[in-house]
């Protein structure tokens, strides 16, 4: 019924899997980050950006993760809404704070790069504005979940809001193509291949994989926390009724 990894739909199986998978992803993230940072600081300065090019190794993966995590949030929300799957709802709820953190990182590090390169901390450019809207969707999702005491109503309302926000993902991705933008266009995921020099591409990809592994680890840990929270609330309710 559920196309996602079916063996994970059982909370007991998920807890057994995540118990070893979370630290494994965390260790992989640390190794990849060390390698990525090493190559990033061993790479030569860019002829135009100078040393600010090193901000790209932490900014671009954060920006990619901001969209990837929202896609995870949207998918989990869809599974929760359609199949009423409690673990999918826990996954959605667990993804939101991580996605908000990655999006905030993308905005802050982008601003720190933009000041010396563009001469401005912020411009109301289509890419930057759509990423800010993405951040606001994350915050609104968390605020909505926190505002409703009824877990089922909060899950349903949050899932609907998350699915509305999915519309923003193609806007973020294609904003640099659809509108005149100060932000540069895609330079890695292109039909004709990356246009980034290898000295910058390798550390960038390593850092992107490190961010992805870190998210995998933290997401699993947060979902485990959500499963325990729901078990605790069920036990407390049972004790109150007894």
């Amino acid at each position: 019924m559920i196309p996602a990894p079916a063996f994970l739909s059982n909370p007991e199986r998920f807890m057994a899997f995540s118990r070893w998978a979370a630290p494994m992803f965390g260790a992989i993230a640390v190794v990849l980050a060390i390698a990525g940072l090493w190559l990033g600081f061993a790479a030569p300065e860019d002829y135009q950006q100078g040393d600010t090019v090193r901000i790209m190794f932490i900014h671009v993966p954060a920006a990619w993760m901001s969209m990837f995590v929202y896609a995870c949030l949207g998918t989990a929300s869809f599974l929760s809404l359609v199949f009423r799957h409690a673990l999918a709802d826990a996954a959605a709820q667990a993804a939101a704070p991580l996605g908000a953190a990655f999006t905030a990182l993308a905005l802050i590090t982008g601003s720190l790069w933009g000041r010396p390169m563009w001469g401005a901390w912020w411009v109301w450019d289509a890419r930057m504005t759509s990423v800010l809207v993405l951040f606001l969707f994350y915050v609104a999702y968390m605020a909505l979940r926190a505002a409703l005491d009824d877990e089922a109503k909060a899950a349903r309302a949050g899932a609907i809001l998350a699915l509305v926000g999915v519309v923003n993902l193609p806007i973020v991705k294609f904003s640099v193509d659809w509108w005149n933008s100060l932000h540069q266009g895609a330079s890695v995921f292109r039909a004709d291949g990356p246009t980034v020099a290898e000295v910058f591409l390798y550390p960038l990809l390593l850092m992107a994989l490190a961010y992805m592994s870190a998210f995998g680890s933290l997401w699993l840990v947060r979902i485990r926390g959500e499963v325990w929270r729901r078990r605790a609330e069920a036990l407390a309710l049972r004790a109150a009724r007894a």
Partner: protein, 69 residues
């Protein structure tokens, strides 16, 4: 292709190092937050489960065993 580490970010050090410092702080916050959340609810669940087991044992009139591991 890759040389020695170049840690001299001048004249952009005021932008490069804060970007890395903020990233490190945010990651530290994400790790601490995720672990604290999971640990808090795990210990709460275990505490409630022990209480429920003790209450169930008392209801049945059986001697309550020490729940400590």
């Amino acid at each position: 292709m890759f040389g020695m580490l170049d840690l001299d970010a001048s004249p952009y050090g005021a932008f490069v190092w804060p970007a890395f410092a903020i990233t490190a702080l945010v990651f530290a916050g994400m790790v601490a937050g995720a672990l604290a959340h999971a640990r808090h609810w795990r210990s709460r669940t275990e505490s409630l489960r022990k209480t429920a087991e003790a209450a169930e044992a008392a209801r049945r009139g059986a001697p309550v065993q020490d729940a400590a591991p």
